[in-house]
Symmetry: D2
Subunit: 436 residues, 4 copies
């Protein structure tokens, strides 16, 4: 092994342990009954997330026929578990219907944690296997062993966030309003940051291009072998023409949004996309998903007072879009967001770690996009219809799991993610007043 | 206190402890994750059954304003629990939607068991209260304290059976086919009995009335104060004209039913009620609910071989009715069943303890029926439409919870109960051959 | 041919022409666009009724292989029409889905009327065929030619009523409130009768049996070959024990029912069957189906003032049952209704020609019931679950289409039929006051 | 009036008569029963289209308070009709639910045609009103009288196409397969053209930009007052960066598509967007919507042989996208389509008059888009979520109703439009073979 490979592998081994442990720490404060809780078809129980992320490593790495020499003694899932814990990989085979994940009281958490340990041991052994070097050279496009492990860890970090947002959904459906953690730390360490953030008034940041009339920018990132990780949907880097635009330095707050509601935002169809208005009426939406009257919102810390200056969250795209129209503005495109992030750097506040930010961009492949070969190619590429892109990251996102090119995506009706919004506008239009 | 009241109260105190303990023993072999399992909207999680039966005592007895002097120190449910654990009593107030009971990961089982203990202590104290005698005299029709406790215990025994049949439904939805108990005892002590039962060939038992041309019989039982317990829907006793009939000495077996299937029973609409045939096609029914190919059935002991001579079970009324038509027979009316039970005594085999037996009778009030006053009057009386009566009792029914006049009832499409069937026919029609 | 057969056949030929013509007269005032109107899945378009009744004659008579010598030159339906116009006869074959009948803009009414004429000509020729006598002797249980024709005419008369009640449903869904006929004659000749009927105050009629303690009565009618027509479900005659009862001399009126509403009838769950209460809330029921605020109701004559003394109509069984409970009474069983009709004769007012009357009796076979052989056996026998019996007849029923033994039936949730109610009660209970 | 206004108005008057007459000619061959046919919630009955297009003129022009002096004697819709024939304009008021349009047997076609005549007379009078000039000057952004009339005519032309595609859907649901017109003319004058089109083999047309490395192009058209008509969503003109691309000279044919099916196209999830695959399985898709086995397709001329060299039609976006992936290609973006149309001119065959062509572009506003003021602003702008853009025009589109900038849009699951597809690809990837 060359030095650089040794270092890379050693780093990965540490990271493996760290990420896998973090997942299990997330359930430390939960009651056993919580582990099977599935609030709705879109969500999954905590136990299922712990199993599925394990399945991912076993299915795509430890069970691969060509890797058998490297993982000879692996004892993995029991019969039938692959069916239970495959999420959506058609190439792997049939799977348990998603809406019924909450019915799987078995296997127990003890069985799943034991399985996690077996898989972790095999992965650790794999990383110190003397022949790993030979296997880890990129060949005809297929991912190497270390690339697959890194993908599995990124995948697990996504599920850490999903676990928490799914749990919030499930707890929200319980009239006794359970508390996940209320020590002011852990999943919601953002209260101080939020108050800090409000020291700066919100401003319009203007981008005009070099000539003042817009211009061509480069968006996305082309994958580099052994370079920093990225998902396939973040590339390739490509050119986009942008007109001049203005973007808000900060996110829309609860106080901003309360003004929208007070002005009839949920009763005025002219502010909404037709599809969103139909949904708003059918569902009886009157506020963001977790707002509770009066002045409260449901959080992982239970029912809490709603901070007026905290960014408004758990909005659908339809609500974000309607709010922007009401405000005389619009949502930024993802190219505008990414360009602003690069251009204004820290002047674009609250880009990461608070809330995902809805963009005006439907989730579609970048020009020249190619999904990874094989089943892992299903990871992102097959969801590129009827969804919108969110940029940034959220308070539920693991700390090292964010990038300026990261493309998160959800259907426009979804509200259970930690999503908020940031305004943009065309500079030639009169600027709506921003609350300070 | 008079001697008889003392004795009655002492007996009730023992029974209280016995029944309440039995409920908790039912969950002894379950994993924590099983306690919240709700397989479908018709079913409830084990934990919910334990809570609801406790709510019943607290709501209808311990919280009654006029009984406050007798239960001064009771500390009961936490705020909001009454909303969660009210099943269907409109007079008590609004309630958590039944299909969402599986989402209540909180309160935990520990909280519920502690609540059960508090309620049990209060009930025990109530039963030794020196003023109980004064309160326990039947007045203007309302139930007395001891009558309400007895009703609560009968109610809890019904939920013991419901807990097990709901659990069977929930486990059946899990591809790993969990086992509740497989020691050949406990909830399924019927394997020996079944083989014993087959020593006698099935015969037609003929009832003709005293004159040989049918006659008036008395059905049901009129409640007697301080007499043996009965539900309100079992009375009053009343006259019914019966034509001569024949009834099978035993239940239809798996082998019998397999012949029906082999003869196209699930493909021949002429054998079915129109409503049942539509359901059969929409649901893709091809066998009783828990049959698994080949020769297996799912049980509380997991997947087991299907005994040909065991009575066929987990049938809807539509299937039972279609089978009877195919066999050239029909289902007995509930008056026929009850008359045969009284007339033929033990010649009517398998009346109790194996399977509830579908009858041809819609569930309607007996002539002169009056529901109990107040909320407990909702117990039976409001369900008297679109259901059919089942008679007897099942292997899941607590041993002392059966009576010849007992009227169980379920919608004709329901299949998750421990239900089978017994044939009847008009004697002037040619008798279909019964398998020996 | 014997004289009696000649007479019978001649009478039938006249009746054939009369009934068939009556169907066509029902659409005389309709616009072409109305002919395809299907307001809901339970209803059918007027054009479909005209076609289906024709299909019935062709399928069950003119196409029968053994009758081919008697109908040699019949030119009937075009290819595919049997699929379109079979209603629910599984023995005949697959059929067009009922909810999609309104999509059949073709065949046109002109094609269907021409088909009716061809069928009528063939039926007329059949009735004068010299060999008819030989074919018209009852054999092994199958219906004879004249019996089948009579069955077809009774069937067509039922569809005349269905056509009108379906049309009322369809027109009711149109905000412009179309008028079918408003000359005060035709389908609603009851306005004068209703006012006449109110000259007599409503009274309780008491039946006690010969000994004053109830007794055995005979219900239903056993079919007699060449006797007056009856449907198979009206027989056989059989004995029933009846307790003494009281029955109201007249139907419940709009004024009566308005008092129920004013007293919170649609907001008090304790008055309702659980199934009905759930439906009431889900559907937002607040009044009978065609009541319109204020003081109006939708009728075949369009929007009309609601007469307080006219019998209340277009109620579900659930509403009728709840009203009766509110009134301190109950619905009569069908045996009580039929006994009262025979015993009190014209003192039981409004028995026929105004509204079908819901009974407390689920629709089930009489003891000894056997459905007719072959496909026509599907006519009544396969609907004997989850429905209730209605007795009498309605203002939409053809004048000669009523009998004391007639058993109409609908699901308890149905409200689009011309159904009302008459109260009954147990005589030992205090009599609720009847409005005069 | 200036000369140019006089000319413009005179031309508009002619066009008014021509377009309005064309709509009525479309129903000339229909039976009266067809006029109310609504096959599904997405479609509308022919009669409704004729009424709604009339309502559009009356609501947005003839009823405008400020125009009252110009249309003093107009007698329009009867009370309640505005509720019936408003399609989706929230600003106008509530409206009849779309899925129930087929239940409106009244008003009759005669009433609607009479209404059309009244409106046409008022519009004609308006166009010769001496004060029109004063009213027809563009003011603060609101549309002028002549602009509104032109918008109404464009709107009516869209509904002419909708009427035919809705009718095709409705007829397709009728097992007797009705024929709308089969003279080889009228709505399907394309059979000759199609065979003509096949004289040229399909080729890849390569666009590389001026420098050979892509470049900035201008897309869309900015509205010019009194210039040629365009919908608001076609503008403003704006710059877009395009990478080099290749686009097929012709549409995908039935033979091409049959090869996709034969290769398992409907059974291979890896070819599909996840959302489309779920739909494909749930709906049981196995071929384009109107294909019938063997070798037939349902058309407005009834069942017809399917021409292998005719362009495949009535595909959802999901099918078009899956086909393109299977072929090793992709769908063009709308910017690519529009650029190719301008660059290659007639080398881009079959651009108009055959089938709308699905693009890869979600339907979103162009940069700087502003909807028209008032209710007509709801025309296009509120539908900009969860739909895809189609370009070109179809054989059902009125002949003068097409433009290179025209943006048609439908949800990706829709299949009842006259939609086909044209392939595109990135030039650096290996070119899939095109069938000649």
């Amino acid at each position: 092994m060359s030095v650089s490979v040794e270092h890379r592998v050693a780093t990965l081994a540490e990271r493996l342990q760290s990420v896998r442990t973090a997942s299990e720490q997330l359930i430390a404060t939960l009651e056993p009954e919580d582990l099977g809780l599935q609030g709705m078809a879109d969500a999954s129980p905590p136990k299922w997330h712990l199993a599925h992320t394990t399945w991912f490593f076993e299915e795509f790495l430890l069970r691969r026929a060509d890797l058998a020499p490297l993982v000879p003694a692996h004892i993995g899932a029991e019969p039938g578990w692959s069916y239970l814990f495959n999420s959506y990989y058609d190439a792997v085979g049939p799977r348990h219907p998603r809406p019924q994940r909450g019915l799987l009281s078995r296997p127990t958490i003890a069985q799943i944690l034991a399985w996690r340990q077996r898989v972790d041991r095999s992965l650790a052994a794999l990383l110190v296997h003397p022949e790993l070097t030979a296997w880890d050279k990129p060949g005809d496009g297929a991912l190497t062993v270390t690339e697959l492990i890194e993908l599995g860890l990124q995948h697990e970090q996504q599920h850490q966030e999903l676990l928490l947002m799914d749990l919030l959904d499930g707890f929200n459906r319980n009239p006794v309003a359970p508390v996940y953690r209320d020590d002011g730390e852990g999943p919601e360490p953002l209260f101080q940051e939020r108050s800090a953030a409000t020291h700066q008034p919100c401003r319009w940041l203007h981008w005009t291009g070099e000539q003042g009339e817009g211009g061509v920018v480069s968006i996305g990132r082309t994958v580099v072998r052994h370079g920093p990780f990225q998902f396939d949907n973040e590339g390739p880097a490509h050119r986009v023409w942008l007109e001049p635009f203005a973007i808000a330095s900060r996110l829309v707050t609860n106080a901003d949004y309360a003004a929208f509601i007070a002005d009839g935002g949920y009763r005025r169809p002219e502010l909404w996309m037709s599809e969103g208005w139909a949904l708003c009426q059918a569902q009886g939406w009157q506020a963001p998903r977790y707002w509770r009257h009066p002045g409260l919102e449901f959080t992982l810390a239970g029912l809490q007072a709603r901070h007026p200056e905290a960014p408004v969250r758990h909005l659908s795209w339809f609500e974000a879009d309607a709010y922007a129209r009401w405000a005389g503005a619009r949502l930024p495109s993802e190219a505008e967001w990414e360009t602003a992030r690069g251009h204004f750097q820290s002047d674009l506040e609250q880009a990461f770690g608070l809330l995902w930010q809805w963009t005006a961009s439907p989730y579609r492949p970048y020009p020249g996009f190619e999904a990874a070969a094989g089943a892992v190619g299903e990871y992102n590429g097959k969801f590129m219809s009827s969804q919108f892109v969110l940029r940034g990251s959220a308070f539920l996102t693991p700390a090292d799991h964010e990038r300026p090119t990261y493309r998160n995506f959800f259907p426009p009706a979804s509200r259970w993610m930690a999503a908020g919004l940031r305004l943009a506008r065309d500079p030639h239009r009169s600027a709506p007043e921003l609350r300070p």
